[in-house]
Symmetry: C2
Subunit: 803 residues, 2 copies
Amino acid sequence: MGWEFWTKQLDEEELVVDGGFEDYSTTTGSSSSSSRAAGMNGTGPSNLVDPLEDPLPGVGTYEDFNTIDWVREKSKDRDRHREITNKSRQSTVALLHSISDAFSGWLLMLLVGLMAGALAGGIDIAAHWLNDMKGGVCLIGFWFNHEHCCWTSNETTFQERDRCPQWQSWESHVSASCVCLFPLQGAFAYVVNYLMYIFWALLFAFLAVTLVRAFAPYACGSGIPEIKTILSGFIIRGYLGKWTLIIKTITLVLAVSSGLSLGKEGPLVHVACCCANILCHLFTKYRKNEAKRREVLSAAAAVGVSVAFGAPIGGVLFSLEEVSYYFPLKTLWRSFFAALVAAFTLRSINPFGNSRLVLFYVEFHAPWHLVELAPFILLGIFGGLWGALFIKANIAWCRKRKSTILGHYPVIEVLVVAALTAIIAYPNSYTRMSGAELISELFNDCSLLDSSQLCGYKQPTNTSETGAGNSLADRPAGEGLYTALWQLALALVFKMMITVITFGMKVPSGLFIPSMAVGAIAGRLLGVGMEQLAYYHHDWFIFKGWCSPGADCITPGLYAMVGAAACLGGVTRMTVSLVVIMFELTGGLEYIVPLMAATMTSKWVADAFGREGIYEAHIRLNGYPFLEAKEEFEYSSLAVDVMRPRRADPALAVLTQEGMTVGEVETLVESTHYSGFPVVVSQESQRLVGFVLRRDLLISIDNARKRQEGVVSASQVVFTEHAPTQPDDAPPPLRLRGIMDLSPFTVTDHTPMDITVDIFRKLGLRQCLVTHNGRLLGIITKKDILKHMAQIANRDPESILFN
Amino acid sequence: MGWEFWTKQLDEEELVVDGGFEDYSTTTGSSSSSSRAAGMNGTGPSNLVDPLEDPLPGVGTYEDFNTIDWVREKSKDRDRHREITNKSRQSTVALLHSISDAFSGWLLMLLVGLMAGALAGGIDIAAHWLNDMKGGVCLIGFWFNHEHCCWTSNETTFQERDRCPQWQSWESHVSASCVCLFPLQGAFAYVVNYLMYIFWALLFAFLAVTLVRAFAPYACGSGIPEIKTILSGFIIRGYLGKWTLIIKTITLVLAVSSGLSLGKEGPLVHVACCCANILCHLFTKYRKNEAKRREVLSAAAAVGVSVAFGAPIGGVLFSLEEVSYYFPLKTLWRSFFAALVAAFTLRSINPFGNSRLVLFYVEFHAPWHLVELAPFILLGIFGGLWGALFIKANIAWCRKRKSTILGHYPVIEVLVVAALTAIIAYPNSYTRMSGAELISELFNDCSLLDSSQLCGYKQPTNTSETGAGNSLADRPAGEGLYTALWQLALALVFKMMITVITFGMKVPSGLFIPSMAVGAIAGRLLGVGMEQLAYYHHDWFIFKGWCSPGADCITPGLYAMVGAAACLGGVTRMTVSLVVIMFELTGGLEYIVPLMAATMTSKWVADAFGREGIYEAHIRLNGYPFLEAKEEFEYSSLAVDVMRPRRADPALAVLTQEGMTVGEVETLVESTHYSGFPVVVSQESQRLVGFVLRRDLLISIDNARKRQEGVVSASQVVFTEHAPTQPDDAPPPLRLRGIMDLSPFTVTDHTPMDITVDIFRKLGLRQCLVTHNGRLLGIITKKDILKHMAQIANRDPESILFN
C-alpha cells in the first residue's frame, strides 16, 4: 500500500530533471550560503540568519521521497558547532550548553541501547508466550508460557516437568467435555491439537496482516533494504515513525508466532532504527540535521543486530559492511557503545532464561581437522547456490506479486501461506518448532545423556571402547537418528520452498533465521553423514591419523553452524560481519577458519550467478534511488555522456547574474520543472557563478513582492555582490545573492564517469554541474547516474526508478 | 640519520609550491589521459599507449618523498581492469589471466599472512632465547632456551624443573673456576649475575643500534607514524624495503632482549607491512599501482596486530581505526582473511608453548559488580592523565634530542639508557622480567596453589570459611604480597620515567607493552587494595549485598587488565580496537563493559589535554604531510584564503591552449619551480581547459625535439583537439593534448575550507584548482592546506612541514 502511494508520488516527480530539490526551503539555503559569504566579506547580506535558530517552521527539512545533500547538511552542522564553540567562551551557561551538546550524542546512544534492548526483550518474551499458546494454555494464569507455568511444578526431571498438570493442551479441553470418543482418543487428540495449531496460526497471521494494512503499511518486510536506502540519504517520512514502531513490534510477535517461515532478526534492525529516529527528536542537534540523524541510524542498525544475536561486535561490523553509507570513526565508537548497552539491557531482561547474551549458545569440545575443510567448502558451495537460487526465485515471485492480481489481496495471500505452512509443518516436529529452536537443536553437540531424537545414537556396548574421558566419541546411528534424518530432509525441502514465497509478504518478516535454518539442516545432514562414514570407515585414507575408533572426530553441530553461515552468506553476501557474529556465538577463535572458508566460498559461488545480495535485489525491485558503494563503476563513459541536456535537447535553463527582470525569472521558472538553476555571468559567456534552488527563488520573490517596497515584474534580479548602476527611474533591484550557493560542485565534460560516481558516493552529492573550458555545459544528478547505470546494464532506465 | 637526509631533501623541495608533482612521468599521464580522450572521441591521438604495458622503465612510479594522486591511481587501475575484462571475452588464455588477476589479491593476502606469521613466530622464539641468555646458558646446547633446556629434566614440579642442572646460570661458571670465596658465595653469585645481566643488556643494545645505523636507518622506532603517513599517500622509498625488514627483525629481537622498556608489538606492524610491500612485487597489479599497494599495506597493518596479540578481529579494527586512510570494504574482507592466516600460522609455530593464539591468556572466574565501575573509571582517569603526560614529556624529550647535541650520539644515548635500565631493573624482580611476562603475571587470577609472590595471601585457617567450591575467595594479604606491592610501586615509578626517554631512540621500539605494563601495575595495585578493603570491611555500605565473607568478589587481575587498556588508550587514543583486542584475550563479553568504561574515560581525559595521540604527535614532530582524517576542520576560512597565489603575489603561471611557442613554454617552465601548470583558453579569458605536469611537459618537448621533424623553438604548442590554421611557412605545431589532464578538480573561491578539506581527504587529491565565475584564480595543494592549518593553530607554518 505504501509503495503504490509512493510510486505515484515519484511518477509525478518524474518530469523534474533532478528529482530532489524542490523541498529545500529558502532560509536554509540562505543561512548556509550567507554565513559562508559572511565569512568572506566580513559582513553578510542584511537578511543574515543565525544558523542556530530557524525563523520559520519546516525550514531545513526535506520533503518526502527526496534525497538529502550530505555536503550541505554536514556544513550546516559544522556552522552550528562553530557557533556553539564561539559562544561557549563568553558565558558559563553557553559553556555548559557546549558541553551538553558534545555529550548529547553519547546520551542518545545510551537511550537507544536501553530502549532497543528493552523492546527486544519484550518481543522475545511475547513471542515465546504466543508460540506456546498454539499448544495449550496455563491453568494458573493464561499469561504464563509453558516453561513458567511448569516452573513451580513438583516433577523432578525436565521431561516430566514439560507435561506438568498446570499446563493443559487444547485437546484436553475438548476431551474433558466429550468423553465419548474413548477408543480413538489418541488420534482424536492429535487432530484437535492439529486443528488448534492451524487455528492459532491463521489467527495470528490474520491479525498481523490486518494491523499492518490498517495502521502502518511501512511495518511489513524486513526493513533492511529501506534502511539502506534511507541511510544513503533518501527521505521516507514515517518509515521510522512511532506508528511503524508500535505496529511492527506487535505484528512481529504475531508473525513469528504464526509459524510462518520468517525470523525476527531483520525486523529488529528496523525496530532499533525506529527507536533511534524517535529518540532523535529529543536532541535539536539530531532532530534538525538529516546527516547527523543518519549517523545515529547507522549505530541503531548495529544495535538491532546486537540484540538479535547478542553479538555487539558483529552488529557493528554488520552496520559497517552491509547497511551504512557514511560511517565515520565517531560513529564506530558510538555504535559500539550503543550495541553493548543494548546487549546488556537484553541480558538483564534475560528472555531466554539462561543468562546468556547470545541467541544460540554453542560449545564444541573437539577440534576440527584440515581434511574437514572439504565438506565445509562443499557447504559453502551449497550455500552459494541456494543463495543465488533463492534471490532469483524470490525476486521473480515478488515481481509477479507486483504485476498480477495476486498483489491486490495481501490478506488472502498471507492467510493461504500461513495455512499451507501450518498444515505441512505440524506433522514434522522439526518444522513445527520455531526456527530459532530448530537452529539451536541443530547446533547442539550430542552428549551421552542427550535425549533428543537427533542424538539417537546406539549406546556403545563395549564400554572400554569409549573411556570415561571421551564421552562424546563417535557412535553409530540408531533408529531415532535415522528417523530424525528423514524428517530433517523433508524439513529442508519444505523450508527451501516456503521461504521463497514467504519473504516479501505484507507482514514483518526477517530472512536471517529461515536462511540459517536451511543451512543448518543441510550442514547437520552432511555432518552426521561424515560422522557415520568416519565411524564405519575409520581405516580410509582420509581419516587415517586423526580419527581412530572411539575418538570424537566429527562434530555434526559444527557442520550445522558452518552450513547456517554459508546459506546466510549466500543470501545476504555478508562476510566479515557474519563470521564475527558466528564467532561471538561460540566464543572461540578455533572455528573461525571453517566459517571463513564456507562464507567465502558461498559468496564467490553466489556472486558468479549475480552480484546482488537479497537486499540490493529488493532495493532494485522497489526502484529506490540507491547508489551502491561496494561495486565499482566498470564502464568507460564520460561525464558528457551522462549529463543533461542531451545533445539533441534544448539548452540548459540558466539565470544570469544580472539583467533579468523578476518577470523573466518567474516565466523561466514556471515554464520548466527543474528543481534548481545555475546562475551564469551572461548568456554569451556561460561562465558559472553559482546555483540557486527553485523553491528558494520562488519564496524569495514572493516574499519580496509582499514586503519590499517597489519590487515589481520589471525589477531587475541581481546576483552580484554590488548592484549595477541603473537609470534613476528604474524600480529598485531585487538582490538575491544571499540565496545562491556560491560553491556548486563542478566536473569537466571529459571527467570519466568512474571518477564522477566516486565523487557522488564519497561526498554524498545530489547534483554536479558540468563545464567545458570554463563554460557551463550541463548538469548531472544522482538520478541521471542511476538511469545511466541501468541503461548500460540493459535494464529499462525509466522503469528502474519508478516501478 | 634517515630523517636528517630526508629533511634536507624536503628543504630543497621547499621552493616548489605544490611539492609533489615533479615525479609524474610523461607516459603515465598520457596513457591515462589519452585513454579517456579516446573514450570520448572514438579515436585517440596517434601516440596512444596501452594502459596494460608501459613502454619506459620507471613510468608510473613516484619519486621519493612525494604524495601520490589517489584519483589517478585508482582510475589507472580501473582502466587496467576494464582492459583485462574486455580481453577476457576474446580468448581462453585471457580469461584465465582475468581470473588469476581477480584472485591475485587473495593469494597475496595468503602469502602476507604466512610470511608475517612465520616471522613473528621466529621473533618470539629468538627473543625468548636471547632473554634467557642474560640469566645463563644451556649445557646440552646453547641454542636451547631455559624452558626447552629443562624440558627433558627429570624433576617433577615446575619449581624444581626451573632449576634443572642442564641450565647453568653465569655465576656458576665463574664460581666453578674460583671456589675461594665460599663464605660470600651468595652475595658473589648475585653480583656476577647482576654484572652479566648488564653486560648482555649493553651488548644487545649496542648491536641493535649499530646494526640500525649501519644498514637500515628506517628500522628504528615503532614505524606506526610513518606507516600512517605512507598509507595516507606519501612515498618514503626504502621504508618498507627488504633491508629494513631484515634489520628490523634482527634488531627488534636484540632490543627486546636488552631489557629496554620497549615492546615488539608496534614494530611487528612495520615488519608485516615490509613483508606485504616486498610480496607486492610478485604481482604486477600491486607492484605498479601505489593505491592498490596501499590497500595491501592496510591489511598488513591488521596482520601485524593480529600476530602481536593473537587478535585477528582486533587487528582489523586497529587498521581501520588507527592506521588506515583509504579502507574500502574489499580491504576489510581481505585484511580479515590475512589476519586469520597469520594468527593460525603463528599458532602452528606455537612460540609460547601453550597452543594459545593469544599473547596473554586470561581466564577470570568471578563476575564484576556495578560498584566496581568506580575504580575502573578511576583507572581510566589515571590512564588518560598518564597518556597525556607521557605524550607531552616524550615529545619534549624528542624535540630536545633533535635540537641539541644529544641527537648526534645515538649509540651513546642507547648505551646509557640500556645501562641505566639494566642497573635499576635487575634488583626488582618485576622490572627484571620482560614486559610481556610482567603483564601476564599481573593479569593472572590467583588460585590457591599459585606460588608467585603476587599471590602471597595468608592461607585461610578456618577451612569451613572457604568451601571447596570457592577456592578463589578473597583472602587477607600476607608477607609476600606486601613485598610484591612495594616492588610493584617502585616498578611503576621506574617504568613511567624510563619509557619516556626510551621511546624514540634509534632502536626498534614499540609502545604497547610498556604502556600496558604501567597500566597493569597501577591496576593491580588498586585491585589488591580494593580486595583487602572488601575483605576487612565487607560490612561497608558499598560492599553490602554482593560481597559476603568468603566470597570471591574482587579479581585484582581484572583491574590490571582494565588499567592496561586505560593506559594504552590514553597514549594511543584507540577505543574500539583496543576493547576488541582485550576482548579477544579473555574471550568473554562479560568484561567488555569495564574495559569500555575505562578506555572511554581515558580517551576523554587525555583529549582534554590535547587531541593528538602519540602517533599523531610523532607525525607532527617529524613534519610528515599527513592530513588527519579523524579531526573536523573547525575554522571558517574559504578556499580563496588558502590558495596560491596570495593577493600580493604575482599571478599564477599558466599555459594557453594555443598561441605559445615551444620556446616560450620552455622559458616559462624554467623560470618557475611549480610542478604543474594549468592550461587556459587564453590569457585574457582565463577559462580552464586542463592541467599539465611539469615533468610530462619537459619530457614531451625534449622527445619531440629529438624525434619529430621540424619541431623548433618557434613551433607552436597546441593543446586543442584540432590544430589551428597557420601560415604555410610556419613550422609544424607540437600537439600536446595527450599529456594534459582534461579533468582537473576545481572548487570555487567561495567554497568553505571545511568542504575543501573533506574533498581532499575523501578523494585523496594532491591539488585542486580554484575558480571564480568560471575564471581560473589559483591552486590549492595538500601542502597549502597543512600550512594553513598550522598557521591557524598558531604553529609556524614553515617549520611544520620541514623540521
